[in-house]
């Protein structure tokens, strides 16, 4: 269904829900040998250490090599991966007993054991930004025997399993003897093993013949994984137009993240290429400096929230209306965390009201420094529109357009900016993104209301009760405006008609795919 660009976006609940379960595993079209997929990626990966960075690109490649203990299925539900089953959780929610699946082999040929898991998770808690937030909750991780691991927590921490299951910045299980900083060897348990990296040419993965697959039917990232194709070649093709041409010419079996303007050409090239739209792929958001500068007072941030029109910003950022949704709910309708709490303040675009609010808040024409970059065109285009919307409401908006590396550096200094623009993938657990929901992320949001709402959400182990608790967090976000979720956007990719069994997902994967001969 996702290959049809004329889908009704309102019927799509989320990228996670919309993905359709299952893939035709090991279809009749499977290759007998020597098959390889050429996969055009957006850049050269900054590293291959999937634990140390949440970069999507690193995740897309290395999720074939490494596996987590748990993962998400097509319905965004948690399912076991390297764990045999879901963990046994103590009544107070502070102890998680995890049994490992038997017979799982590392790429080195050795059996995976609990020591590998303990060492990997400890490294993850040390090097991964997401792991660090988990580390703050963990008192101990111990191997009870070769097949059993126990995680002990200070308090009940409901997002733990989602944190362990998240594909990017993965709590990847690695061979203990390869753990180092920086990582030099890539030995995991996945259906593909690392073969070679030639920077700016390719990262080569080959089928791991000793892979121990789960027996459940494939669903999302979960269930049975089969490496049908012999070799995966992840090729960096930084120029987006070149990725489009390469897909049309049949050079790439898959081309990731294509410009939305290319959709018409891709749709016309029937038989040559299949366009893939992943709805609710991610969300752009504006982060406010709550520590210093003109945006520090809550009331001024509320005035900004009133002034801006997210719909206009999205239109400027993404153009084609099929590729964005202007909605204030942070999670899509139909998902467990959907809520309309606070959304009356979304997309108000009321300069008059905003001006009055700003005056009452004591705003006296201080500059509003908007930090943005042209790394992503939609960031810059949205910033242009926002600056004009703010000026209409009497704010002295100043655009500070820098390069991405400079933005990453400057946003760490509260003296240099008031608002910056970024985006994130849309994940099935609120605590996975944006980082402003945690502590210490740029913006430095800290308040009693935040603490109370998030403590309630994080300590509630019952998934059914966590939805309404998220609604309270969303309300606080609208009340205190530490960040503004601008809306949702879809992504455009393309595959060759010869690539069979491909299931679109946030981070595209190529196990369970085959090449039609």
């Amino acid at each position: 269904m996702t290959s049809d660009l004329r889908i009704d976006r309102r019927t799509v609940l989320s990228s996670m829900l919309a993905l359709g379960a299952g893939a035709s595993v090991g279809s009749a079209a499977a290759q007998s040998g020597g098959s390889a997929l050429n996969l055009a990626m957006v850049a050269e990966p900054p590293t291959l250490d999937i634990q140390s960075t949440p970069a999507d690109l690193v995740c897309i490649i290395m999720q074939h090599v490494y596996e987590p203990l748990f993962t998400f299925d097509a319905k965004a539900s948690l399912v076991p991966m390297l764990a045999e089953s879901m963990p046994k959780i103590s009544a107070d929610g502070k102890r998680y007993g995890i049994t490992l699946r038997k017979g799982v082999k590392l790429h080195s040929g050795r059996d995976l054991n609990a020591d590998d898991v303990v060492a990997s998770l400890k490294r993850w808690m040390d090097v991964s930004p997401r792991g660090k937030s988990v580390a703050a909750q963990v008192t101990d991780i111990a191997a009870k025997d070769p097949q059993n691991v126990e995680i002990s927590l200070k308090n009940a921490y409901a997002p733990l399993l989602s944190q362990l299951a998240m594909a990017s910045g993965m709590a990847a299980i690695m061979a203990k003897e390869t753990l180092a900083q920086p990582l030099r060897e890539y030995v995991g348990t996945g259906p593909y093993k690392f073969k070679e990296r030639k920077p700016d040419q390719y990262v080569l993965l080959t089928r791991f013949d000793g892979y121990a697959a789960r027996t459940e039917a494939a669903s999302g990232y979960g269930g049975k994984r089969v490496a049908v194709v012999d070799e995966l070649r992840f090729v960096p093709v930084p120029n987006a137009n070149t990725r489009v041409e390469g897909a049309l010419a049949g050079q790439f079996h898959y081309a990731d993240l294509l410009p939305i303007e290319a959709s018409a050409r891709l749709e016309k090239a029937v038989g040559k290429v299949v366009p893939i739209m992943t709805p609710s792929f991610g969300f752009p958001y504006l982060v406010f400096n709550t520590k210093e500068g003109s945006m520090a007072p809550v009331a001024v941030r509320r005035a900004v929230q009133t002034a801006i029109g997210e719909g206009e910003m999205l239109a400027a950022g993404f153009g084609d209306t099929r590729f964005f949704i202007a909605e204030g709910n942070h999670f899509p309708k139909g998902t467990p965390f959907y809520s309309a709490a606070g959304t009356a303040a979304y997309n108000e675009r009321d300069p008059k009201k905003a001006k009055t609010q700003a005056e009452q808040a004591g705003y006296k024409g201080e500059p509003v420094r908007i930090l943005t970059s042209r790394q992503y065109d939609f960031h810059y285009n949205m910033a242009l529109i926002m600056a004009e919307q703010l000026k209409r409401a009497g704010f002295k908006a100043e655009l500070n357009v820098v390069e991405w590396a400079t933005l990453l550096q400057r946003r760490a200094d509260p003296k240099l900016w008031d608002i910056y623009i970024t985006h994130s993938g849309l994940f099935p657990e609120p605590m996975l993104s944006p980082p402003q929901l945690g502590d210490g992320a740029p913006g430095w949001w800290a308040s009693p209301a935040k603490q109370a709402a998030l403590a309630a959400l994080n300590q509630e182990p019952d998934p059914a009760k966590r939805g309404p608790l998220w609604a309270k967090v969303q309300q606080v976000v609208y009340d205190e405006v530490p960040y503004i979720q601008v809306g949702k956007f879809a992504s455009l990719s393309a595959r060759s008609p010869a690539l069979q069994g491909y299931t679109p997902f946030t981070y595209p994967f190529f196990w369970n795919t085959s090449l039609k001969s």
């Binding site: 930004p129 030639k198 920077p199 093709v237 390469g246």
Partner: protein, 313 residues
Amino acid sequence: MARYLLARLGGMLLVMSIVAVFVFVLTRAAPGDPIAVLLGDQATAADIARVQKVYGLDRPLPVQFALWLRELAHGNLGESIFLQRPVTQALWERAEPTTLLSLLAVAIAAGIGVPCGIVSAVYRGAWIDQAFTGFAMLGASVPSFWFGLVLMQIFAVDLGWFPVSGYGEPGASLAARLHTLVLPATVLGVLNSALIIRFTRASMLDVLGEDYVRTARAKGLGEPTIVLKHALRNALVPIVTVIGLTVALMIGGAVVTETVFGLPGVGNLVVSAVTRRDYPVIQGALLVVAAIYVLINFGIDLLYTAVDPRVKV
């Protein structure tokens, strides 16, 4: 001769020292932090500080500079922060596509530029001169990315004669790798031929007005002999200079073409290093490109003696 060579060598060393200082200072003066890029969007200030320490980026700049110079003296350009390999190895891996691309492109540029320039000069003011001059203007104005995409659309997508992007599949033969260079070399060659046409034309026009050309005509020599043997030989100095500089320019400057065609060349390496602030790669690559530039200039100067007997070292 020996004194000249020594003096030139000293001058080259001085130039390289100045380049080293500039490269280091400018690289570090630019805002941005490689570790912030490496660790990604969610890294905290503490994470960044911890990894900066691993790479020695927390040390004072003069100390970092001194350490870099010490390594340079040992022929070591440092280790890339992102590529997990020495800069020399990263450069070496990219030397082949860049060198082959540059040579192919220069061959195409000179193959078009010199004959067209000669014809333009000989038929000065005629329609053919105007056509070539117009072509030179066009070549100087057309952006290489656009021309690259046009060629890609026609010859790779529509006709399927060449690959769109990349430098061959893993383990590709030299012939297969050269095949991937045809389109990018054509882009660079055709666009760079514009400058060579103009230089050749101007240089030939200067020479064709000389007395000895008139004398040659008076002696009854055939026009091809006059143009190719007498005039061209004397017009070669500026032409060789511009061809040499074109080669030097391409080694570090074929960035746009390399990016459009996804070629793993030096230009691509430098651009990705700059966007990621991979300091050792930026510094090492710029230093090597500068050294090549200096050496090519030196080579051109030596070539003058072969081209023009009046030039003596």
